[in-house]
Each structure stands twice: as structure tokens, then as C-alpha cells.
Symmetry: C2
Subunit: 238 residues, 2 copies
């Protein structure tokens, strides 16, 4: 059915929660609220904004989730002590939360994983190596089963874990599932012997603490996904 022209930017079709966040943003930008301040009680905000307390509550939840405010039980919420411009940028990002394009996701994954494996090669301890060996063995075991993809992911996850940088790991955990869902949907991955060899190569390089070589193999390992993403990007752009 020929619906209304939806080319015009949303703005009026935001969720109630996001509209509340937008109001909070206005309060900060207008100078009424400053970083470090304790913002009004949920009930007062609800009354002032003309929304229900539930919506205000969810908005504050979201803001706390992104580290913009800190909520203390039975006490109130305080605005993180950053400067105004920074806060404004952060909140804008929360509002414009978009689903990322595939290529950017893959590009980020490559960057994170090549550096995660480099750090892993430098920093692994005995426990890490035990985990790595086990994860690699599991992948080989599941190579011909439906669990292959899961074990593959687990192997990469173990490497990230062994980098001893929890931020790397957390960010990979955000990026990789998004990639996998798209990748699985658009291309059925047949078992590829190259992948096994590359996993083995990475294991060897890690064992002899050769971070550069490990990173090189990882980059090659992910090249297939990156090329696929590039191809997809070009298809969409014409």
C-alpha cells in the first residue's frame, strides 16, 4: 500500500524513552543542569516533561547504562562529571544509536582481533594456554558438526580472553555476534580446511610468543570476511 512519504527524518516518531532523554539533554544544554549536579527526582521529571514515571525511569536506566549518569538507590541520580560538550555528544550518540553497517563492523573486528592476538602472544600464562589448547581441540572435534561455528567463535573468544585486556574482549563480544548473524544469513559457510590451518598457525605463533606472526595470520584469517564485506558494500553503493 502506498503509505505516507517517510523520507523526512523521523524526529517525531521517536520512542517515549528517547524523547525523555532528549528533554534531559535540553536541560543540560540550557544550563539548568550542570555536570556533577543531582538531577530532579523521577516524579518531578515526569511531571515537568509530561511523561509517565515509567518512561523517565527507562530513560534514566539507559543513560546510566551508557555511563552518563549514576543512580544511587533511594537517593537520586547524579550527572557524570564531564564537561558540557562531551555530555551533549554522548547523549546525542545514545539517541542516534543506529544499527551499524556491516563493513564498519568487520573493519573494527579485524582491528580488535589482530591486536588482541598480538597481546595474547605476549601475555598468555599457563592457564591461558590450557584454555587455548582446549578451545582449539574443540574446534577440530566439532569441525564436521553443527557446533563448528560456535566452537570457532569460542576459539576467538579465548584469544581475546588471553589478551588480558577486558575492554578488547568486551568490544569484540559486541561486534562479533552482529557480524555472525549477518554473515550466517547471507552466506552459508561450508567447512573450510584453510580455517583449520590458520587456527593451527595462530596457535603455533602464540606458543612461541611471536605476536607479529600471529597478528599476520589473524589478518589473513579474517580477510575472507573483510572481502565479503567490501563486496557487499560495493553492491549496495551502485
Amino acid at each position: 500500500m502506498a503509505e505516507t512519504f517517510t523520507g523526512l527524518k523521523e524526529q517525531s516518531l521517536e520512542s517515549p524513552t528517547d524523547r525523555v532523554i532528549s528533554k534531559v539533554k535540553d536541560l543540560i544544554n540550557s544550563g539548568i543542569l550542570k555536570p556533577g549536579d543531582k538531577l530532579p527526582a523521577e516524579r518531578k521529571l515526569a511531571l515537568e516533561f509530561g511523561f509517565g514515571r515509567t518512561q523517565v525511569r527507562e530513560a534514566l536506566h539507559k543513560l546510566e547504562f551508557y555511563g552518563i549518569i549514576k543512580t544511587l538507590p533511594q537517593s537520586g541520580s547524579i550527572i557524570n562529571g564531564l564537561d558540557i560538550n562531551t555530555l551533549d555528544g554522548l547523549i546525542s550518540d545514545v539517541l542516534n544509536l543506529q544499527s551499524y553497517d556491516f563493513f564498519s563492523l568487520v573493519e573494527t573486528r579485524v582491528l580488535l582481533e589482530t591486536n588482541a592476538i598480538r597481546l595474547c602472544a605476549e601475555r598468555w600464562n599457563d592457564q591461558d594456554m590450557k584454555n587455548l589448547v582446549r578451545a582449539h581441540a574443540n574446534y577440530l572435534r566439532d569441525f564436521d558438526t553443527a557446533d563448528r561455528i560456535g566452537s570457532d567463535f569460542a576459539f576467538h573468544r579465548t584469544i581475546a580472553e588471553s589478551s588480558h585486556n577486558p575492554v578488547f574482549k568486551a568490544m569484540l563480544m559486541i561486534v562479533i555476534p552482529d557480524i555472525m548473524t549477518i554473515y550466517q544469513r547471507d552466506r552459508i559457510c561450508a567447512p573450510n580446511p584453510d580455517v583449520t590451518n590458520e587456527h593451527q598457525g595462530m596457535m603455533d605463533a602464540i606458543k612461541r610468543r611471536d605476536g607479529e606472526e600471529a597478528a599476520r595470520i589473524m589478518a589473513q584469517h579474517l580477510k575472507g570476511v573483510l572481502d565479503f564485506a567490501k563486496l557487499k558494500l560495493e553492491q549496495e553503493n551502485n
Copy 2:
């Protein structure tokens, strides 16, 4: 540092929301729920788990934030179609959500920013350059004012924006505020002329599309923070 025995991870002091998430995790691991399934209605989950619907609601909200489930209004929530091991790992990460150590945050920032500026140098368009010039001018203008830190952040933010990789930018937006709060708290940053020179150097390198040089200057630019983080790490470890 002695290897503390943190084997007993499970604390009885978890928040109600996290305990609900843990229950959902059990449902998935026990095979009752599989990826792709629609999970029971909020009321049924609340009854089954012995929690209020509010807690179940917040738990589902959190799971949706992390992309583990997708909630459709008036219809239900479905589990993301990943494999079981992946899902289990993701949920575990959500539960063990810790505040990251300063060094890992800085290490991640350096990685992201050096690569963001490299891509920025390669990809900027006319609009990007206008934004970059303006951000740089603003920093110079605010150098002696209280807005310096904010303008500094805005400059870096503009670079990330011009990398045309929204994932890079989003992740920097997560990392940098955390760093700034710690950095500001522990060390009062006096206006440093070196910073200005480095900003200028980055601008020049970007203009002539010299990504490597821009990345080099950025690495040097962030070296101070990285050294500070290293120092802090060593202090904490002795």
C-alpha cells in the same frame, strides 16, 4: 600479586535483574530454550522464576541492549539466532560486567584513535575538513579557559567522526569518558603547549592525507596518558 582465588564467582548479592538474567541463561543452557525461539511471556517468566514482572522486564531490557534478544511490541521476545555456546558466553559477559581497569581502557583508546585518525586521513571529505578545522580552532580559542578539556575531546571526536566508521566512534565514546573521569580526578592537567603542536601536526598530516604520520603523532599524543596508566598500574601492583 598473589593469584587470588576468585573461583567462587557466584555472589548472593547480585541485583534481582541479574538473577533473572542468570535464570534465562539456565533455561538456554538446559536446552529448554534454543536460539531463535520465542521466549515465554513476561508474566510467565515472572511466575516461573518467582520474581516480579518489573524485574523480568528490566532483565529483558538489558538483554536487548546487548543484542541477545529482540523484543517485538505486543508480540514477544525472541532469542538471537546465534549458537548456544556463543549465547552463553555473551550472557556471562553481561553478568560479569565489571568496571574496567584504567590501563586496559587507555590501551584500547590508543588502538582505536590511532586507527581512527589513519582512516580519517584517507577518507575525509569537504564537510569533514570543515568540521576538523572548526574543532581545531575551537580548541585554540578555549586553550586558556575551562572549556579546554571539552574542546580537546571534541577535536578527537571529530577525527573519529571523519573516519567514517561509526563503530570506531561509538567505541571511543564508550572508552574516553571513563578515561577522562579517572584522569581528571587523579591529575590536574595544566595547559600543555605540546598538545597544541601535536593537534596542529595531526591537522597537517590529515590534510595531506598522510595517515601513517597522523597515526604516529596521535600515538605520541596519547603516550602521556599511556605512561600515566602504566605508572598507575605498577603502583597498584606492588
